[in-house]
Each structure stands twice: as C-alpha cells, then as structure tokens.
Symmetry: D3
Subunit: 194 residues, 6 copies
C-alpha cells in the first residue's frame, strides 16, 4: 500500500527552489501535512508557481461566493471529471468550510440531489455544464445565475474556478496523482460547539 | 460588425498595471497587433499574470515537441472543445510555425484525417482523449506514446498543454472571446523561398 | 435539515405487516439503526418482500466473490448511476467488509484509479459496462473475466448484482431516497487490531 | 438454427423445485408454451422466485395504468436498452393487450413517433429517461406526469416497472437470452370481432 | 387512426409527372400497394427522381452482397437512427429476401445479438459505425471487412447504402413519414416449401 | 505531399461517360479547377449522376433560403460530422456567396458562436440536430423555425440539404476524400468594392 503519489519523479523538499519549498512548508504548518498536489506539481517549478498563483488569485479573492461555495464548485466539477485527488482532497476542505460532514459526499455523487440551496444548485449546474460541455455555454446560461443575484464578477469566479480545475483534474489524471490518507477523514466530525 | 471581444469590460491599455501593459505592447511589437485574449483576460490582472506565466512555462520551454507540434495540440483540443477564439488564433500560429497553410484547418476539423505523421497522430489522440474524457486516461494510454519515442517529459508537455487549454477554452466560452480579424488570413500563403 | 427520506409516504413500523416489521427490527438490532431503504420500500409490502428476497439470494449466497467484492460492484455501479443513497450506504458497508477506510470513496469516484487488484478491476469494468451500456455486453466481455479465474457462476453473480442495483438505483432516484446520517462515518476508522 | 436459449445451463423441468416447475406449467397451460425467461432464470431457483414475485407484485397490481400501458413501458425501455428478448416477447404481449398489431414495433423503434396518446407519451418519456439517465430524474420530471392526471401511485408503477426491466434487460444481456419463436407472430392479426 | 403519411402535402397520382406516376404504378403492380415513401417524396418530383435513381443504382446493382445483406444494412442503420418508416418497411423486405421471419426484428433491436454470420456482423458493425459516428471511420476499419473477404467494391456498397439511408432516415424524420400497414405482417410466415 | 484524393480508383477524364465528363468540364470552366468530389464519385457513374441530380435539385432551387444560407447548412452539419472535404470545400463556397471571409471558419467551429442572425441560428440549430440526432426531431422542432418566418418549403430545404450532406459526409469518410488545395484560400480576401 506504499503507492507512488505521482507517475513522475517527486522532488525532495531540500532539492526544491526556496520559494517553492517555503510555500509547501507554510501549508504544512497550517494543515499539518503537505497535500500531494504540491509534491506532484513541484516536479516543474515554473508550472508549480503559475498554478498556485492562479489558484490563490481565484480562491483567496474576495467574492460574492463564500469559501464553501467555491469548494462546492471544485467538488462538483471534479466529480463529473471523476478525479480522485480533487474530489477527496477538496471534499475535505469543503466539509471544513461548510461545517457540514455530509455535503461533500453528496455533491461528489450528484449535485442535483445534494442539500444545497436553489441558488447554489444553479451555480453548480452552470459549473458542471462548463466543465463537461463548454461549447454549449452561451449567453442564455447566464440568465438563471443573474436571476439568483449572482453579479457578473461572481459568474467570472464560478467559470474561472471551473476552468482552473479543468486544468487541475487533467494534471491529476496525467500524473496519476494520489490523495493523502489524511483527507478521507478530515471534517467528518463536527467540532462540538462551545 | 463592431462586436465586443468579451462579455466583460475590456480595460484600456493606459489603465492597466505596467507589467500587464508592457507584456501587451511587446506582443504588439512582435505580431503587429494585440491578440484579444490579452485584452479579455486583462480584466483581472492577477489571473492574467498567472495565465501567461503558465503559458510561457509550457509553450516556450525546450521540449521533445516542436513549436508546431505544441500548436497542433492546442488546435486539436480547442477543436473538440469547439472554441472559436483558440481554433482561429492558434490555427494562425500553427500555420506559421509549420510553414503549412493547410494543416490548421485539417486538424481543427479532425486530427485523424489530417496530414500529420503517425507519431503526431498518437500525440493528438492522447491530447484529445485527455481533453474530452480525462477520466478514461490511464497508464495504458502512455504505451503508444512511448512506442513512438515520446519521453516522459514530452508526455507531460502534451498533457499539460492540453490541460492549460482546457482552462483557456473555458475562459473563452465564459467571456464570449472573439478572435481578431487578423488571425483568419495569417499564414495562409507561404512566403516565397529565397 | 429535517428532510424527508422519500417522496412517498413512509409507513410507521407499527402499521407494517409483521414479517416486514420483523425484518426491519432484525436489521436495527444488528446495525444499530434501520437503513432508510427499508423505510422507503416498505410503502409497498409485496415489492419490499421481493426486493429483499432478491437481495438476500444474491448478497448472502456463497460465491467466488468475497463480501467486499460484492459491495465493490454495488458502489462502482451506483457511482456511475450517480445514486446518493446507494453510494453512501453501500460505501459504508464496503469499508467495513474490506476493513479499508479509503476504498469506497476511491471506487465511487472511478474504479479504474482505485486501489483494487487487476482481477477486481476486470470485475468492475464488466459491471460498469453492464450497468451503463448493457447492450454492448457480448460473449467477448466474458473472456477477460475467465482469464482472471472467474467461473461462470461468479460471472452470474457480478452481472446479477449489477442488475439488482440497476433496479435499486432507479427506485432510489424515483423516490428521492435519502441516506441515513450514520452511513457517512461508518467504517472510516479501522478498529485497532488486537 | 438450434441455438441455445441461455449461456448458462437450462435445467430440465423434472429437476426443478416443485413451486418453480408449477409456475412454469401454469404459464404453459395459459400461453401454450413456456417463455424462455422462465427456463433461463430457473438456473437459480431463489432468484427466479424473487424475480417473479416482483414481476407479479407490479404487473398484476391494480393500477391507474392499463395492462397495455404497463407493457408499453416494458417495450419502450427494453427498446432503448436494445434487449432482444424483452422487446420481442413483451412486444407480443403488448400487441395482445392493446389489441393493436402495430403498436409494439412502433414503440420499439421510437416511442416519440408511435401512435400513443399525449398522456402515454409523457409516461414513456419519463420511463425512458429513468431507464437510460436515472441520475437526471428529479422532482421536475414528475410535473408533466401529474399534469396528465397520473397519481403518485401511478408514477411509482411507471418507475418501478422501468426499474424491474432495467434488471431484467441486464439479466437477458448477461445470459444471452433468446426469445421463443412463438413471440414473433403473436398478436399480429386482430381476432375478428364478433 | 387515419393518420397522415407525411407532414407535407401528398400529391394525387393523377397530378404527378408521368414518369413519377409510372414508377409508382410499377411498384404497385409488383408489391400490391404503393409504399408511402413514394407518396411522401413525390411532393418534389426532382428530388424523387434523384432519390430513386440513387436507390436503384445501389440496391439493384450486382454486388458481393446478397439482396438480403443489403437490406440488413438498411434495417441495422435505420434501427440505430430510430426511423420507424425504414425499420418497418425494410424489415418486411428483409424478411422476404432472407426467407427468415425473425431476422428483421432481431437486427432492428441490435445487430450484435442477431442470427447473422460473423462476416455479416462485421459488415453491420462497419455500417452502424458509419451511420452514427462517421468521423470515427478510418482506414483501420476496413481491415476486418477485408479479412472476411469483402472486396473494395463491396465495401463501397456497404458504405454507400449506409450513406443513402442516412439521407433517407432524415427525410423520414423530417416529414414524419408513416409506414403502410401492410409492411408489419409481410414475410412473417414462411411460404410452405414445395 | 502527393496524397491520393480517394481510397478508390479515380478515373481519367477521357475514360468517363461523356455526360459525366461534360459536367466536370463545365465546373472546371466556371471554377478554374475540378473539385475532388467529382473525381472521387466518378468511380461509379450512376451514383455520380444521382448525387449531382439531387444536389442540383436542392442547391439550385429557388428557395426562401439564400445561397449563402444553404452553404451555412452544409458547413455547420459537415462540421459536426467532422468531414474535412465538405468543411473545407463548402467553407470556400460559403465565403464567396456570403462575401464574408470569416463566417465559414466560425460556423465550422460552432454555429452557436458565429456571426449569424437569430433566424440563421435557429435554422442551423435545426440542421445540426437533424444531422446528429435525427430521431430527436419532432413536430415541436418546427415551431421556432416557423416563428422566424420559415415556410414549410423552406423547412424541407433545410432538412433535405442536411440529409443530402449526411450522405455526402459519409461518402467522404468512406473514400477518404481529400479537398483540393485551392479551397483553403478561396474567398478569404474580399474583392475591393468599386
């Protein structure tokens, strides 16, 4: 069960450029472990830097979407792309942000039957369509989003997160990226409220 | 016929951060015009920077793939994603790099019937599969590529270019990005050899 | 969050025929709770009896497949049918039988990338094909199974479990069946070995 | 042309448990021959009993659907599942119940172009969707059925018949089940009215 | 039940150009009735003439395919195109040419499970692929046909019959063409051999 | 680069029946070269005659559709059928008739994003649906066309052109038909207006 986390060589921390290593050590300090996507993408430092710059620009940005909603988009689109790394790793993040131990499994199976609001369902309908049938997305698809109060910048967020994980899912399939064992259990028990 | 090049606001050059503007002016100097993807993505400078950093890391990198072969991947995967901007703009680039006025239209319609080598056809088969059915890509799909002499780093290039344009195609569909008129004619007449 | 477990009326235990109620109480004694599929299907006692008779005939039968392998088939085929009840409930059962806290999430996302043996992958390839494209299953599909040592009766088991959950998934989608909260966490922590 | 009716062993009548044999003899008395589904499924008596218990619970039940309408569902869903046994055998039953020698062939090719009422078309639209894309069935799909006067119990009947034949079609594909020659001609000539 | 045979006006025989009328009267003399495709296409005499000229060039041509095999192609490809007129009308013709009352229903449901030779199955595999996924047909698809002894002219016949009925099926869907009642029963009882 | 224009023998002009040869010489006089479809189909003179009779009956007919609109249908449906010959050859014709050097590339990639009127988009939606999913075309699909003012005869034109190129695309895929080099550049530069 000591399976490789990528088909490609995984560099040792000490062999990495310092900015890449520092980024990974920061994550480790915060999360307690280094998610395998960092190890796998570190194989090429320039692409690593560009990927996480894109990621931060979108995921850390102030937005009409909550952090949990951004992760819902990641889990739903990675689900329809059948990407084990992204569903399992971002499923954990979604459980934590949403403070809901059930939502990630529900959305991974099918966002249409999940415990989300009608507004969130419209958001995920759009994301899943752009993920799998991008050519079918036209001006008309923006109307239901606007009807639910999404502003144009929010719609860019929905679409751009979908687009970034279209890239990410494909890198995960290309490299055979394997989720860390830690992700499976994270966020499955709600912290007792004070 | 004075159609918008994006559904989103397009910033004026003078309003852009200087690094973004400089990048655009460099392209203008080299190509004679600024491709609309720069105008459209400049709406968000951080994402613009990350996108072109990713692009340069992959497309300018030394590789077992020629520049023309990299553009073949862009045209073939953008073709199956029905992305007008990417097919028309990168079709022009492909014609120029390949010094072949017919190859882009052929690949855009169907790479399987195009005038490419068997090795290039294997490369495009892999790219198109990863573009449209990423979940179906497994270890077995690497065998035909290796049999044609692609090294593991070349395969990363094929996969990562496909992944980046999976992102790019979705941004183009999201924004309704419109190709510059210049692209349609570029590279259609071979320069007379000296 | 007090969502109905079925679109259809759910009978009270005391209003059920005694054989149906007894079956449910037995499960409760063994599992600690009554899975919602019993509540939902109890709406029609005759169909309830037939369903669980079929279930027991297949799932309790001695077989060349282990109990965990039978549940792998349920999870993989329910995954491609996007059935929340069956993926989440049988995912729990699979984790327990396989004594593996990760396997169910992996198979639910994509059995091709899961930690299963080559023999199990062949079994799940067949099941998933029969689940989604039954018409494409021909004599030729039996060859890889036989090559892995599956006997004809084992192949019947694989096919019939797939067929029964083709029925079950559709009843779950028809009734909007909701998994019990208990299932999400079951089997996620391995019992300490003695 | 003496083709096997199943890939699996077909037990002799005299070797069967008496309840299974009795059921088959009753059918023979009524229909004049024993449909091959009985022979093929008798290979496993417990599953045989469960299957026909389920079948009778649904198909013999009083319902807002006529007997002909129930068979329309079987023929339409078996048609989209490309199941020769079920289309040809239940096509015969449908011709007889509907007293219409053309309807089964029409529905087997495409229920949308068949001589059915608008109400029946809505019923078959729902059944075919549940048969082939069960995950896409949501609460919204019930509205057109209710608008045509189907009650909730009728909708359960439509869905459950579809679900049972999802199972049955897969057993037929698994076993290579072959229709009896008798079915092809049954019900093709209307009995002269008295 | 007095349904129109076409969405478009159906000209009276006496109003037709004499060559069109003569063609129809010849068919009537031979078959005992005029198939509705003649009535429906007669709405435009020039297209009628071109269609039947194409039809005769292919279907009456000496070929490595028997007349029954040509009709198998029509029934199989019209089946996957879900064309009621062509399946029901040419199903009758196939039964007669093949002197086999079962073969048309089998092929209409799924040629892969029908009582055809391995050579005929290869022929129908090719035809069905060209009918539904024409872009996927490449040089490699000709190899299995050649291995079964089909010459290049035979392969043209297979492909061209498929192509002509790709046209014909679409005209039938466009016009809502309705098969004559006579077709349903034709060829279902084998003439007693002398 | 001296690739064959067809997998099948291409007859010399002097060996052709005089009516076939005359037709080809007329085209040559008008266009300056003989499109390869004439060479390739001349392999069988009777089918050649029927094909071009059908073509002329539809394409030269007075119609509610302009010549450019007829070619839009050819390019859009040949695009979704991934037919290099038809996209590239008729793309040239479309550019000339529409006096628009960009429209053919746009429609070939995706008619939904092309610079066409809403009326033309409805026309192409219908054509593309009939081209790829003919069974899904029902009476309801005619409503949007009528709402845009298409008369029934115009709708026949749309459907029949789609049907004829369903045939033509398949003959091109069957024969591996190769477009003439001339087509790639034709119509790409607008003639200076006087």
């Amino acid at each position: 069960m000591n399976q490789p986390i990528s088909r490609y060589p995984v560099p040792k921390l000490e062999d990495l450029p310092s900015d890449v290593r520092d980024r990974m050590l920061q994550v480790q300090e915060k999360a307690g472990f280094i998610p395998n996507v960092f190890h796998a993408l570190a194989h090429r430092a320039d692409e690593f830097r560009a990927f996480f710059a894109y990621h931060d620009a979108l995921m850390l940005r102030d937005s009409g979407l909550s952090k949990a909603e951004k992760e819902m988009i990641v889990v739903a689109t990675s689900g329809v792309n059948h990407c084990p790394y992204c569903v399992i790793a971002h499923g954990a993040v979604l459980r934590i942000y949403a403070r809901n131990p059930h939502i990630a499994d529900q959305i991974a199976v099918d966002h249409r039957k999940a415990d989300v609001t009608a507004r969130q369902k419209a958001m995920l309908d759009f994301a899943v369509k752009l993920a799998r049938m991008p050519e079918a997305v036209t001006e008309e698809d923006l109307q239901p989003l606007r009807a639910y109060g999404f502003r144009d910048e929010d719609i860019w967020d929905i679409g751009a997160i979908t687009a970034l994980f279209a890239l990410s899912n494909r890198m995960a399939h290309l490299t055979g990226m394997r989720p860390n064992d830690e992700f499976y259990l994270l966020g499955r028990v709600l912290p007792a409220s004070k």
